[in-house]
């Protein structure tokens, strides 16, 4: 177990304590700035009210809700459990497959049905492709936050290939509505397996190229190491999850710790931050965890493609889904972390209550703890490294 250090906030001067020999206080006025809702580096419509003393951030107050689209209210008002899936798509719009799966899995557990093995493999392949696509956006935009523009477009170039795969599977490039309760909407197209294998072969060297350009760049390391350190106890206390929590050195991945799908049938490793460039849980650790997870995802995809069985892609489910009255909380590992769906059924054909526990919501709520005392440029790095998608924060 790796011990985390206390957050180094010592470089914050305490202006109130500094007094000249004539007794004059050296305290300067603090300035309140609104970062967002329209700001290039808040990754959407996040508004951060920041109190700054010069360039040093004294306090951060996040304001969210600008992208609130009433997911839970919509879900309650649907006439059918399946109809919620397009709304789940739109929660985290860069990782729709994972959202679909999370919701579908929750309903399946509520119905107590098992999906055919082919479906499990298709879902794992889709979810891991989506994880790579989502991480590529996270890493690329983080590069922009650091002032490096080129990695961003390299990431998008590679993501485009994944979207092409999705497009040939289900016709859509962003919001798929592909994973349904009891299966997937239709089977993999011809040649998909081949093309996905091509992609894996293409993508592996690209990760190295990306690392050479950005990850191990001296300036980049200087900007990210020892910045925004999230100590492990605070990370757990704020229920951070995903790469954010693993970056702090906590070996916690729901794909392994709360198994679903066929993740146990393939070989892969949980990646954690080790503080290679600075302190455990700094921005660089969170970054490298995402990079290494992409490698692991490629591993998973390759094995799943090799093992995928033939068979049906829809379980035998009734035309109108009508679970028994009851409730279930199912959590899956989305690219951002623990995506939970708490569904209460009252025995009718539509859910009585759906609560979506989004990982970005919890990850963002810790920001005032780790951003205090950093500089404005560091705040941008921290927000970028938490990898929030506002569609998911606000739902």
């Amino acid at each position: 177990m790796i011990e985390s250090k206390v957050l180094p906030t010592d470089y914050v001067t305490k202006p109130a304590d500094l007094v000249t020999s004539t007794g004059r206080s050296l305290r300067t006025d603090e300035m309140i700035i609104n970062m967002g809702p329209q700001h290039p580096s808040t990754h959407g419509v996040l508004r951060l009210e920041i109190v700054v003393d010069g360039e040093i951030v004294v306090d951060v107050i996040p304001h969210i809700g600008y992208l609130h689209r009433c997911f839970e209210k919509h879900a309650e008002h649907m006439t059918n459990y399946q109809q919620v899936i397009p709304y789940a798509d739109r929660m985290d719009y860069v990782a729709s497959m994972n959202n679909d799966w999370g919701y579908a899995l929750a309903v399946e557990r509520l119905l107590k049905i098992q999906v055919p093995p082919r479906v499990e493999y298709i879902r794992v392949i889709m979810a891991e492709l989506q994880r790579i696509a989502s991480h590529l956006i996270a890493l690329g935009t983080f590069g922009i936050d650091m002032g490096a523009f080129t990695p961003f477009l390299w990431c998008f170039r590679d993501r485009e290939r994944i979207l092409d795969l999705f497009e040939m599977t289900c016709g859509a490039r962003l919001l798929y509505n592909y994973i349904w309760v009891g299966g997937v909407s239709h089977d993999l197209p011809a040649k998909f397996v081949e093309r996905a294998k091509d992609f894996c072969a293409y993508f592996k060297p690209k990760i190295k190229e990306f690392n050479d350009l950005l990850t191990y760049n001296e300036i980049f390391i200087k900007r990210t190491a020892n910045v925004g350190v999230l100590p492990r106890d605070i990370g757990i206390n704020y229920a951070c999850s995903g790469p954010m929590l693993r970056g702090s050195g906590i070996d916690w991945d729901l794909r392994r710790d709360d198994p679903y799908g066929v993740y146990n049938d393939v070989e892969w490793e949980v990646q954690i931050g080790r503080g290679e460039m600075g302190t455990v849980g700094d921005v660089w650790d969170r970054f490298i965890v995402k990079v290494r997870e992409m490698e692991q995802s490629v591993r998973i995809i390759e094995q799943a493609l090799a093992k995928i069985p033939d068979g049906n892609v829809q379980a035998a489910i009734p035309k109108r889904i009508r679970p028994d009255a009851g409730e279930i909380y199912v959590r899956t590992e989305s690219p951002r972390g623990e995506l939970g769906f708490y569904i209460i059924s009252d025995g009718t054909t539509s859910p009585y209550r759906v609560k979506a526990r989004s990982p970005a919501f919890a990850n963002l709520s810790v920001i005032h703890e780790i951003a205090r005392g950093c500089m404005i440029a560091d705040l941008v790095a921290i927000v970028g490294s938490t990898d929030i998608v506002l569609g998911e924060v606000d739902r």
Binding site: M146, G147, L153, N217, F220, R223
Partner: protein, 349 residues
């Protein structure tokens, strides 16, 4: 050239105006070319193709951009300081343009052959800081203010390594007049200041080499900071400060900011070229030398550095404010003190 204009026009005021025109025309043409170059280089580094529709491979795009910027509505923040707001971009452009006056484009043409040419350029470009502060303050926008404060701090800090690096070249060539500095580097590229200069013995040259090359690299680094290019583009760090000091500007005023930024890129490159790389001197001794070849060589060398700046910009991330200051005061400046001391010591021996 001055004599030529003198005989053509006769009136000294007309002569001054005529002498001032070539740099302005050059800046405008150069900006169009560089905007296009930057977009194309950036695009190809990023696996894209950039503009393809306006003319052959989009060559007319900079013209279209310029026309668009001229047509755009000019917005002045109602709560800002109107006079300063309007004045700031022109002041910045003035500082840059004034710097061009002392750049010798060829043996026959220099806008103003002042004896303290190098010193004059450093002084004239410092006006830019005032313009930046004015634009940040007058915008009445906190991001602009932060950006202009950053840029003022940055320019002042990086002025020091720039001047110290210039000092190394001046020590080796023995003049502050840029024409004379260039003439001292005549006779092929091995006589350029970056390789020890033309007036020293071979043994001295060998000892000078590490220090002159270091000074030159530092001058180049500091000039990146002077023109706010990555990795020192903090004043207009898009992801942090929206757009820095020119957030509130639009239309023609924004175009002028843009123009002076690009002009500044060439100015610092030209100064570095004149001081360390022989300015308009041909690299092959007397071959291909002369008034017209001189323009060619200076522009070629200058553009080389502009392209290098573009390359760096699209490769590196940017530094943080404290790291920026650290680089200037604790790395570049002490290294230059060592260089100056060593160069002086070797010259005395």
């Amino acid at each position: 050239m001055e004599q030529l204009f003198q005989s053509l026009a006769g009136n000294p005021i007309v002569v001054s105006v005529l002498l001032a025109l070539p740099p302005l025309i050059f800046i405008l043409l150069y900006a169009l070319v560089t905007v296009y170059l930057e977009m194309k280089i950036a695009a190809h580094m990023q696996d894209r193709v950039a503009y393809m529709r306006t003319g052959w491979h989009g060559v007319l795009q900079p013209v279209a951009d310029m026309l668009k910027l001229i047509q755009k509505e000019d917005i002045i923040p109602s709560s800002g300081d109107k006079i300063l707001f309007i004045l700031a971009p022109y002041l910045i452009f003035m500082g840059t343009y004034a710097g061009f006056a002392a750049i010798p484009f060829s043996p026959a043409y220099v806008g103003s052959n002042v004896n303290l040419g190098v010193f004059y350029i450093v002084a004239a470009t410092s006006i830019v800081v005032v313009g930046l502060l004015m634009s940040g303050w007058a915008s009445n926008n906190k991001w602009s203010l932060l950006g202009s404060m950053r840029s003022a701090a940055q320019l002042v800090s990086y002025e020091l390594p720039t001047i110290l690096a210039i000092l190394v070249a001046v020590m080796l060539t023995g003049s502050l007049n840029l024409q004379e500095v260039i003439q001292a580097q005549a006779g092929g590229f091995w006589n350029w200041t970056v390789f020890g200069g033309g007036s020293v013995s071979v043994v001295q040259k060998i000892f000078l080499l590490p220090f002159t090359i270091t000074s030159f690299l530092i001058l180049f680094t500091a000039s990146l900071a002077e023109v706010n290019r990555t990795p020192f583009d903090l004043p207009e760090a898009e992801s942090e400060l929206v757009q820095g000091y020119n957030t509130e500007y639009s239309g023609m005023k924004f175009a002028i900011f843009y123009l002076s930024e690009y002009a500044n890129m060439f100015l610092v490159s030209a100064v570095a070229t004149c001081l360390f790389l022989g300015g308009w001197q041909s690299p092959f001794g007397e071959a291909l030398n002369g008034p017209f070849w001189g323009v060619f060589w200076l522009v070629l060398k200058g553009m080389g550095f502009v392209v290098l700046q573009i390359w760096i910009r699209w490769t590196l991330p940017r530094l943080r404010v404290d790291q920026l200051m650290y680089t200037s005061w604790k790395v570049l400046t002490p290294m230059l003190f060592v260089c100056i001391f060593a160069v002086g010591f070797i010259l005395v021996l």
